[in-house]
């Protein structure tokens, strides 16, 4: 076991079980989020998932249009790939760190919307929502804070023994 691996190795089965639950919950959530952003709308009159996410991002008024068009795909694919790695336990720390970085960026964007008193919706989970309904509010910041906790735990403690690899 390398020095790094020793540092992040969990102490017992209980901790590994907690890490497994965190990994599965976060992976499931971000896979669901990515699916909703990438998958086409179930109706012929509604715009596709990427189109809806692009317009949701555009309404934040933080990125130029050409970057919005690119990020409408890169963000969900980033979520999907990192979540899939988290699910099977390969490079779990790196995946969790990437998701945490994205979550931090989303939260900063939400904070900027709140600061500018804009009345827009998030589009964070496509057509669905977790805890916060309607236009962006401080509820979204709290929601992201709650989501960050298991990610922080995985970054700090690694994937646990129930994973394909314990390497970060």
């Amino acid at each position: 076991m390398t020095r790094e691996a020793e540092h992040i190795a969990p102490r017992g089965t209980i901790e590994s079980l907690v890490l497994l639950v965190c990994r599965l919950a976060i992976a499931g959530l971000f896979l669901f989020s990515a699916w909703n952003k990438l998958y086409p709308a179930p109706s012929d009159v509604l715009p596709s998932g990427p189109q809806q996410f692009a317009l949701a991002m555009k309404s934040f008024e933080l990125l130029p249009d050409h970057l919005v068009a690119l990020m409408a795909f890169v963000v969900p694919w980033c979520e999907a790939i990192a979540a899939a790695l988290l699910l099977v336990g390969i490079w779990a720390r790196a995946s969790a760190f990437l998701l945490l970085t994205m979550l931090t960026a989303f939260t900063l964007a939400v904070a900027s919307v709140l600061a500018r008193q804009m009345n827009i919706t998030c589009g964070c989970f496509g057509n669905f929502h977790l805890l916060c309904k309607g236009p962006i509010s401080t509820c979204k910041v709290i929601e992201n804070g709650v989501l960050a906790l298991p990610l922080l735990l995985i970054v700090a403690r690694g994937s646990g023994v129930f994973a394909l690899t314990r390497r970060g």
Binding site: V45, S59, F73, T101
Partner: protein
């Protein structure tokens, strides 16, 4: 360093896949100008379904809802962004008016016979946007409005409607403030 390398590698793979997917099925991020009309299409005769003015209507225009075939020819000469006067002409001709503001703003009052269709409704799972879209005629002159000024809700709904096949779209750039300041018909709260 290995840890950071893994993070960057995952991000790079996502960037490559995302860029490929983006090129495969591009999204629309800006409103395209309206296409010139090639035929005379009567203004939407379905715009008022479920949107009957309530008894609390402050001003009932005699022409409201009087759909005439002249709506589209008038709209065909207009660009994407229109003034209050141009919007009034389309209003008199029976064009469809779409209120892109939030539920609360819509509930507090709106242009008579307008339909409510906000960006929030498109990103909800309750099917309200689909229900409204199915009531509207994609070929009819359609005016979208929101809070005016720096309000971007109109442009968002404009893009959504373009994606849904609407061809005669216009944005009332001065929005509600311009409309009400001109003393034009306004319906107070009462209609859901």
């Amino acid at each position: 360093m290995a840890f950071l390398g893994r993070v960057l590698l995952i991000a790079f793979v996502a960037l490559l896949v995302g860029a490929w997917d983006s090129a495969r099925r591009p999204v629309q991020t800006a409103a395209r100008p309206v296409a010139p009309a090639t035929s005379t299409t009567p203004a939407s005769s379905t715009q008022t379904q479920g949107q009957t003015p309530s008894p609390t209507t402050e001003t009932s225009p005699a022409t409201a809802g009087a759909a005439t075939p002249s709506a589209t020819p008038a709209a065909a000469t207009l660009g994407k962004d229109i003034t209050v006067a141009q919007a009034k002409t389309l209003f008199d001709a029976g064009a469809t008016f779409v209120d892109a503001r939030s539920d609360a703003e819509w509930a507090s009052g709106h242009i008579p016979l307008a339909v409510h269709l906000s960006g929030e409704m498109f990103s909800a799972t309750d099917g309200r946007a689909t229900d409204v879209l199915r009531q509207l005629d994609p070929g009819a002159a359609t005016v979208i409005y929101c809070g005016g000024g720096d309000c971007h809700a109109s442009e968002q709904v404009y893009i959504y409607l373009q994606q849904a096949g609407f061809s005669q779209l216009h944005i009332l750039t001065d929005g509600v403030p311009g409309w009400t300041a001109a003393g034009l018909p306004w319906e107070k709260a009462g209609t859901p």
